[in-house]
Amino acid sequence: MNLDAHVVVRRPGFDINVEIQGQAGDTVALLGPNGAGKTTCLRAVAGLQPIDAGRVLFGGIAVEDPSQHIRVPASLRDVGLVFQDHLLFPHLSARDNVAFGLRSRGTRKQQARATATAWLQRVGIGDLADRKPRNLSGGQAQRVAIARALVTNPSLLLLDEPLAALDAGAKMTLRSELRRHLEAFPGVAVLVTHDALDALMLADTLVVLDEGVVVQRGTPEQVSAHPRSDHVARLVGLNLVRGTANGTVVTTGSGVDVVSATDSSGDVFASFRPSAVALDTHRPTGSQRNAWRTRITELAPYGDVVRLHLEGELDLVADVTPQAITSLALDIGDPVWAVVKATEISVYPA
C-alpha cells in the first residue's frame, strides 16, 4: 500500500504544509528540529488531527480530503502509531495493552494474548507482561508501545521517536528488530527521530522539516552527504555554512571566507567533517588553508577523540586527538584558531 499525504494544518503563527510519499515497503524518516511539525504530520496521517487542506491517500484512495468532505476515522485507517509519550492504557497490563489492537481487529482472546506475549519477548520484556504501565520504567513502557503498534501488522506504521527512551543496547537491538520488521513490511513506515543512526539505518527516504515545511528530501546518502539545514548537519555530524560562492571562495553572511578546492558560484552550502578541523593557538601560515578565529565553548572526550564546540567567526564542532589538546594545553574559554584544508570542504548549491 502506498502513502501519498499532503498535510496542511494551520497553527497559531505558522502553517504546517508537508507532502510525504512512500511506496509500498518504503520507510520514510521525518527529521527536523523540535516543533517543526513532525508529530502533527503523523497525527494527521493517522486521522487524529483533521487537516485543513491537502489530502491523504492510502493506496491511491482518499482517506481524508477536506475539499470533498472525506474523513475516514482513525479506527478504520489500519495504522499503527507509536505515540511520542507512549500513551499506554494505564488500566491494562503490558500484555493487554499489546493485545488490545488484535482484540479490536477480532482476534480471539487466547490467541491475542499469546501473540502479545511473544511480541513482548521480542522487545525484551517478556517477563513484565503482567505489569501495569505505572509499574514500568520509561524504556520498558516504550518497548510496550512499540510492540503494541507493530503487533497488528497495520498497513501503515507511524513511529514517533520510538527509540528515544531506550538504553544504548536496547536501542541497537530494537533498531535491528525494527529494520528486520520494516524490511519484510509490505506497507509504508514513517519514522520520526532525532537520532541520525535511526534514520540512516532504517529509512529509504529522509524528509527534513523546518517550521512546517520540507527543507530537504532525499536518500540517506544524499542528505547526509549534502545537508541543507543546520539541523541535518548537526544530526549527521557535519559542520555546515551557507554563503555566496565566487570561484573557490564562499563568503558567509557575516563576511567570513571559506575556501574550497572546487569552483562554484551563487548561493551555496559548504560542509566539512569535525575531524577535518585542526586547532592551533597561533594563526597558521600556509596559504592554502582556512583559518578562523574562535573560542572553545565545550570540550569533552568522545570515543577516541575529544569533541570541541567552537564559537567565533564560524561556529564549529571539531574532533581532535587527546594529544592535540594536551600539547596545546587547551581548555574551555581559550581562544583558538580552527584550521581546515580547502580539500576537506565540500561545496554544493543551496
Binding site: L87, F89, F100, S104
Partner: protein, 256 residues
C-alpha cells in the same frame, strides 16, 4: 491543616444530626423492629428497587454522560441543564409528572396500555421508574464530570489500534473513569434508596408491593415518631453496610 480543618468541619456537620438521631433512638425496640416481617419486607423491596433503578440509570446514564462529555453539538449545555431538572423538581411534582406521562391517562402510558396491556402506576415497576427518574441525573452528571477529567488521548490511542467507538467506550473510557462512575452509582443508589415523594405519588404506598422503607418511615412518623427514627436508622445501617463493602472493592479493583 488548612485542608483537614474544613474537612473535619464538613464531617462534623454531617455527623451532628445523625448523632442526634442515634441519641434519641429508642434502642430497646430495635430488636422488635428487625423481627417485624413487614420491616424486612420493606427493606428488601427498597434494596431491590434501588439497585434495579441504579443499574437502569447506569445503563442509559453512562452513555448519555459520554455524549455530553465527548461529543459537541449545539445545545449541549442546555441538554446538560435539562438533565438536572429531576433534581430540582419537588419529588411530589415529579410523581405528578410521571402520572401525566406514564400514568394510565398519561400520553405515553395510554400507548403502553393499548399496545402491551400494561399499566405502570401503583406497581413495583412504578417504584423503580420513580427512583430511576430521580437517580439518573446523579449518575449522568457525575459520570460526565469524571469522563471530562480523564484524558481523551487514550481514546485516540484506542482508535489507532482499530477499536470501534463502542469498544473504546467499554474497554478504555469506562475503565479509566471507573472511580467517577462508581461515585455516580453510589449517589444514584443512595438517592433511589431514600426516594420518597415521587414514589408515594406514582406508585402509592402498598405494603409488599410499593411500600419502600422511606414510605414506611413516613407512615411511622404519623403515629410513632420514635419508631420512624428506628426505621430510619435501620435503613441507614443497611445502606452504610452495603456501601462500605461495595465501594472500596470497586475503587481498588479499578487499579488505575
Amino acid at each position: 491543616m488548612r485542608l483537614l480543618a474544613p474537612a473535619a468541619l464538613g464531617l462534623a456537620f454531617l455527623a451532628l444530626p445523625l448523632i442526634g438521631l442515634l441519641v434519641r433512638a429508642p434502642w430497646a425496640t430495635l430488636g422488635d423492629r428487625l423481627q417485624d416481617p413487614s420491616v424486612v419486607q420493606s427493606l428488601r423491596l427498597s434494596l431491590v428497587t434501588a439497585s434495579t433503578a441504579t443499574i437502569a440509570s447506569l445503563l442509559v446514564g453512562v452513555p448519555l454522560a459520554w455524549v455530553l462529555a465527548r461529543t459537541s453539538f449545539l445545545g449541549r449545555s442546555f441538554l446538560r441543564a435539562f438533565i438536572t431538572l429531576p433534581l430540582v423538581l419537588p419529588p411530589v411534582v415529579g410523581g405528578v409528572a410521571l402520572f401525566l406521562s406514564l400514568g394510565r391517562e398519561g400520553y405515553a402510558g395510554k400507548v403502553i396500555d393499548d399496545w402491551f396491556g400494561i399499566t405502570l402506576p401503583f406497581t413495583t415497576a412504578a417504584v423503580v421508574l420513580a427512583q430511576t427518574f430521580v437517580a439518573m441525573p446523579f449518575v449522568v452528571i457525575s459520570v460526565e464530570g469524571a469522563l471530562r477529567a480523564t484524558d481523551s488521548r487514550y481514546d485516540e490511542a484506542a482508535a489507532t489500534l482499530g477499536a470501534s467507538r463502542w469498544r473504546t467506550f467499554t474497554r478504555v473510557t469506562v475503565p479509566l473513569s471507573l472511580p467517577g462512575i462508581a461515585a455516580g452509582a453510589v449517589l444514584g443508589w443512595a438517592r433511589a434508596l431514600g426516594e420518597f415523594g415521587a414514589t408515594i405519588m406514582f406508585a402509592g404506598n402498598f405494603p409488599g408491593k410499593t411500600q419502600t422503607m422511606p414510605l414506611k418511615v413516613f407512615l411511622a412518623l404519623q403515629t410513632d415518631p420514635d419508631a420512624a427514627i428506628v426505621l430510619s436508622l435501620v435503613l441507614l445501617a443497611v445502606s452504610i453496610t452495603v456501601l462500605a463493602a461495595l465501594r472500596e472493592r470497586w475503587l481498588t479493583g479499578a487499579g488505575v
